[in-house]
Symmetry: C2
Subunit: 188 residues, 2 copies
């Protein structure tokens, strides 16, 4: 292969750390150290430096979460049940401190949306992609295009907000409350 796995190891450590600690809370040294990749290879693989690394990390989060949402939605005919399955999966991490994954995309988005346009765009694309998975399912289930568009955005907001509240509360209660109100939200 043209790339060894150094690039991959760096990117996966960066993704994990950015999600947990944020952009400014994570140093390049820490990324290198946790990745176990050779020290000198960072700027070889990521000539754009920290910003490029963060953009690619956001793309990793985007795809990882998109897949999770899609898997959950596929398992049920009713969109509400699919979303609840996804929320259930998210809530698991708060049972055990070690499992906590942080706030995917949201932390980086909040830190950098006003400071780096390319990074903001990457975060925005992630939210758009997740919304489109919800949207498609809702339309398939008989929602109007308009309602599906609104609802999918609201679901994105609730879930990011719910993770944030669960992180702060150190328990999954907020995510579970959200889960229980999903059917009411989609009933229209």
């Amino acid at each position: 292969m043209s790339y060894g796995d150094s690039r991959e190891k760096i990117l996966s450590a960066a993704t994990r750390l950015f999600q947990l600690q944020g952009y400014y809370g994570t140093g390049l040294n820490q990324i290198i150290k946790e990745s176990g990749a050779p020290k000198g290879s960072l700027y070889y693989h990521f000539p754009g430096g920290k910003e490029q690394l963060a953009i690619e990390a956001v793309n990793e989060m985007k795809e990882y979460i998109r897949q999770k949402i899609a898997d959950c939605m596929e398992g049920y005919a009713d969109p509400a049940e699919g979303i609840q399955a996804f929320l259930k999966e998210l809530s698991c991490q708060f049972s055990c401190t070690e499992d906590i994954e942080g706030l995917p995309v949201g932390l980086l988005a909040a830190e950098t949306s006003l400071k780096s346009e390319p990074l903001r765009e990457a975060c925005h694309e992630a939210y758009k992609e997740w919304a489109s998975v919800y949207e498609e399912k809702l339309v398939q289930a008989g929602c109007s295009e308009e309602h599906a568009k609104e609802a999918s955005t609201v679901i994105n907001a609730m879930i990011e907000g719910g993770i944030l509240l669960s992180l702060t509360a150190k328990n999954s209660t907020p995510l579970l409350y959200i889960s229980s109100c999903i059917p009411d939200l989609l009933k229209r």
Copy 2:
């Protein structure tokens, strides 16, 4: 007075900057510079250093937002209308780039909940306080205590998530979508 206004100026600059740029994205030097307060007075007024400053900043955000929510709720008999008034106010900042206030509490919470217990607790208290304002109004309007408790947490999550999405999208659409689904959420 026993304190001049240096303390106040430092704290208000810190509050603004932490909310916009986060804990690690904001340096003590920048806070001093923007506050216009004398350079040497920071550790005199805040012997606990950056962490103490952030905790007090979170308390400022807590009170500022609590007041805003309370004002909005007082203006209407219907809780849904009060919440929509608050969302309308939040959405204004995205009309003009200069007015953007960032993500109150949420950014600091996401960055530090896993790293500083006292800071996490301060953020948690803020969310609890906001929720109790919603809760009280909902119970007054005839909701069951149980439903009011759930709904107020969900509203907190939606709003923090909505600000985050609006920040990332650079427009108020997410907050407005949330506003339009509030009545459905409370109908029970």
